[in-house]
């Protein structure tokens, strides 16, 4: 057997029980992710993208199959897997500095080390002037930078992002996409990224995983071979976008038939 993948999702299913009804959110999902890979999950809402991400994060336990990290079953949330939520999930009573230092401080790192880490990440995300601001004083893009830095400052190997830029305006979103790619290339992170946008998926990822609803499952996966940095206006990019769009729609058409 070849090297162990950082993430290995084997036949994972999830059924929520709500009062008396059962909702099958995810069925027989299989996916392996190599270290350093950037993988996007795309699909209509309700097809289990968030569920899959939350299982990898350890917030939910699978009802069937198993999710492995470095070959070991995921038993719960841990700092090696950091989640970036669409609604940020920052602690409103902590400043930017304290939010970023929360993880290292919780894990009992020495004070001086925490301070150094925090300063490094604050300047990395360009928020030095806002180090002492509280979340409600920041714009959406700034909050999401803090949420990303908070996860990275805590030595996360896998970053899970659930429509992280969905609430941002187009310009901020593009800037954060560039920043995220820059970080990813510099640090060798592994990223699992949920999006609604085909363009965002192709711009960011090495591989696009298409999911389908009813019940949620993985329909297909597509390697994106375009060289980086990618140009969304180039004919090659458009070709890939067209192809992927057709695939997505053919899935839907099949379902409708």
């Amino acid at each position: 057997m070849a090297e162990i993948p950082i993430l290995d999702i084997q036949g994972v299913g999830k059924t929520y029980v709500l009062n008396d009804s059962r909702i099958e959110a995810l069925r027989d999902a299989n996916l392996t992710v190599k270290k350093g890979e950037f993988v996007c999950l795309i699909g209509a809402s309700g097809c289990g993208k968030s569920t899959l991400l939350r299982i990898v994060a350890g917030f939910e336990a699978p009802s069937a199959g198993q999710a492995l990290m470095w070959g070991k079953p995921i038993a719960g949330p841990a700092p090696d897997r950091g989640m970036v939520f669409q609604d940020y999930g920052l602690f409103p009573w902590l400043s930017v500095r304290e939010n970023i230092g929360f993880g290292p401080a919780s894990r009992g790192r020495p004070k001086a080390e925490v301070r150094d880490t925090v300063e490094r990440f604050i300047s990395l995300i360009g928020l030095t002037r806002f180090a002492d601001a509280y979340p409600h004083q920041l714009s959406g893009g700034m909050k999401q930078r803090v949420a990303i830095a908070r996860v990275l400052a805590n030595d996360a190997e896998v970053v899970l992002m659930d429509e992280p830029f969905g609430a941002l305006d187009a310009m901020t979103r593009e800037r954060l996409q560039d920043e995220l790619l820059e970080l990813w290339q510099r640090t060798g992170l592994t990223v699992l990224f949920v999006t609604h946008s085909i363009e965002e998926a192709i711009f960011l990822s090495d591989r696009v995983v298409v999911m389908e609803p009813g019940p949620g499952r993985i329909a297909s996966a597509h390697q994106v071979e375009l060289p980086r940095p990618r140009d969304v206006a180039s004919p090659e990019f458009n070709e890939v976008r067209r192809e992927l769009g057709l695939r997505l729609h053919s899935h839907h058409a099949k379902k409708a038939a």
Binding site: A57, G58, F59, G76, P77, A78, P79, R81, G82, M83, F85, D87, G89, L90, F91, P92, W93, L94, S95, F102, G103, S106, R107, L124, I125, G126, L127, R129, F130, Y134, P135, H136, Q137, L138, S139, M142, R150, V151, N154, E179, E182
Partner: protein, 280 residues
Amino acid sequence: MSDVTLTQAPVARPVPALRLWRRVRPVLLSLIVPLLLLLGWHWAVAAGMTRLIPSPAEVAEYMVDFAVGGIWDDAFSATLHIHLLASASRVYGGFVLAALVAIPLGLLIGRNAFVRQLLDPFLQLMRPIPVTAWLPLSMILFGLGARSAFFLVFLGAFYPILLNTIFGVKNVEPRLFEAASMLGCRGNAQFFKVVLPAALPSIFTGLRLGLGLAWFVIVVGEMTGVPQGLGAVIMDGRTLSRTELVICGMIVIGIAGFISDRVVVLLMNRLLRWSPSHHG
């Protein structure tokens, strides 16, 4: 990555006269209604609409006597500080005791299902009983006097603090627990790092309501036959048919309650600077 934008656009500095006007205006506005009331009161008395209520000027004169003496020199002259101190010590004593019991209890009830099932039904059952209804029982339990007043203030302040603490603890955003646990803060550590700070605005709301109610019930509490206290002054004024004394007592309670509320608000705005609804 460096060109960040301020969310709050800088406001152009207004000229000094305008700045002064901006600060004075709200004060002036807030004085209009009380002044109109005072005028109405004055005219009503002057027109002979009532003989039982003294005019504002008479009350003002009596207030001076009540505070520093030298005008009437009766049993109440220059005794304001004694009564105020007596009432304030009961208000703050009962309030602090209520906070010391209600906050930990509320945290427990909000967090622990066992404690909640044990105590919540009982507390909900006791809650609708008004403080005034406790008066006779409290006189039997604690006798005629300061301890009874203290107990009633405690009861009055207890429920708003308790209920708001429970509310705050139960309404912590679930997202924040997820964020804490993925960052390595788990189990009991979350209590101090997440639950307590997240519940703090609600706890403060409870404290503010509780302190307001403490001033509210002090009159009832001091009806139980205490010699000193603003409630006692009002009761004495009633029995002696000295309405100016009653009104003086009311005014002092109003002002004292107002000032103590401002102190809580100031403290709250300082401690909750992070909260968008508490601009410090």
